[in-house]
């Protein structure tokens, strides 16, 4: 995972994420203020016009940008669901969209103009090829508007197209729980947990958890939301440092785990808070 582009280019601390957003916003504001300055210099405006400019042409703050990005990210989710795209492609579309607006301000690019382009590029990146004409028809858009920002999107993504989503880890944990908790967990119940968690993961991808945590940590956090006792039990049995020998007293486990259970649990709980 540490070799993946997702870890190398797209994982941040909370502070770093904040800085990035402020920087993106700041650069856009500077451009706008310069344009406004030039505009005022080039046109002799009446006092009312000047006043209107000063009260209306006010750049957005980072928070306001975030609200707009979240609003349109949900639209990306709805549109890609409406196009009946597989879950992983919906997730990739959301990821592309949110990353684009980590690197660019909504004041430079109207988010409305990126919605279809991100879904279209996500389909191509996930080998789910749809021609731009049939995509335009389905999405009630035009090929020009879809292709217009494809290059810019790819560049803003730093040309990283392979994304690890939390769905495969969900399948993995679904299996491993059956192994570690063998005979102690009802399989039908596990099936329900699986389906509910899968849906919740897509919601989680609309939050900053994707930048702050790894896909498996997000999966475990959503599983924790679904059934805390079950997941805690599973992790304790799997990663606890001590085993209980047959007559129940604790013995040091032979092979050292590379995972520290207390750290893991605290990370997952933090992640759960971010998602909730």
């Amino acid at each position: 995972y540490r070799h993946s582009s997702q870890y190398r280019f797209w994982s941040f601390s909370k502070e770093h994420l904040r800085e990035k957003r402020d920087m993106t916003n700041k650069l856009a504001v500077e451009t706008i203020e310069k344009d406004l300055f030039d505009f005022k210099a080039l046109n002799d405006l009446t006092p009312e016009e000047l006043n209107a400019l000063d009260t209306k042409a006010v750049p957005l703050t980072t928070e306001e940008e975030l609200k707009l990005i979240d609003f349109y990210a949900k639209k990306v989710q709805v549109i890609s669901q409406h196009l009946n795209l597989p879950t992983e492609i919906i997730a990739t579309s959301i990821s592309f969209f949110r990353k684009f607006f980590l690197e660019n301000s909504v004041m430079q690019f109207d988010p409305k103009n990126l919605v279809h382009t991100t879904v279209f590029l996500a389909c191509k990146a996930e080998n789910y090829f749809i021609s731009v004409d049939s995509f335009a028809k389905k999405a009630k858009s035009t090929r020009e508007s879809i292709l217009k920002y494809e290059f810019k999107l790819l560049e803003s993504l730093k040309f990283t197209l392979l994304i690890h989503h939390p769905y495969k880890p969900l399948h993995g944990f679904f299996l491993d729980i059956q192994n570690i908790l063998h005979g102690k967990v009802d399989l039908n119940y596990m099936g329900q947990i699986y389906d509910r968690t899968k849906k919740k993961i897509t919601q989680a991808l609309l939050t900053d958890a994707v930048y702050l945590y790894t896909p498996p940590q997000i999966t475990l956090a959503v599983l924790l939301i679904e059934d805390e006792p079950l997941i805690t039990k599973y992790l304790e049995l799997k990663f606890a440092d001590n085993d209980n020998d047959d007559n129940g007293n604790e013995v040091k486990r032979k092979k050292k785990n590379s995972i520290d259970l207390t750290v893991l649990l605290s990370v997952i709980k933090e992640c759960k808070d971010v998602i909730e």
Binding site: Y1, H164, K168, P169, L170, H171, G172, F173, F174, L175, D176, Q178, N179, H182, L187, G191, T214, P215, P216, T219, K255, N257, S258, I259
Partner: protein, 48 residues
Amino acid sequence: DIEPRRFTIEEELYDDPFLKDLQNKKEFIASGFRTDYVYERVLTEAFM
């Protein structure tokens, strides 16, 4: 791979109706489909 893997594949312990169904289909068997490859993939992604 440097450190020991954090999982073992216990095929007989898994009840995965979705995969069980696929692996019995003629076209999957003929194509060389292998459930252990799927288990390997999703468990690797879970413990990476």
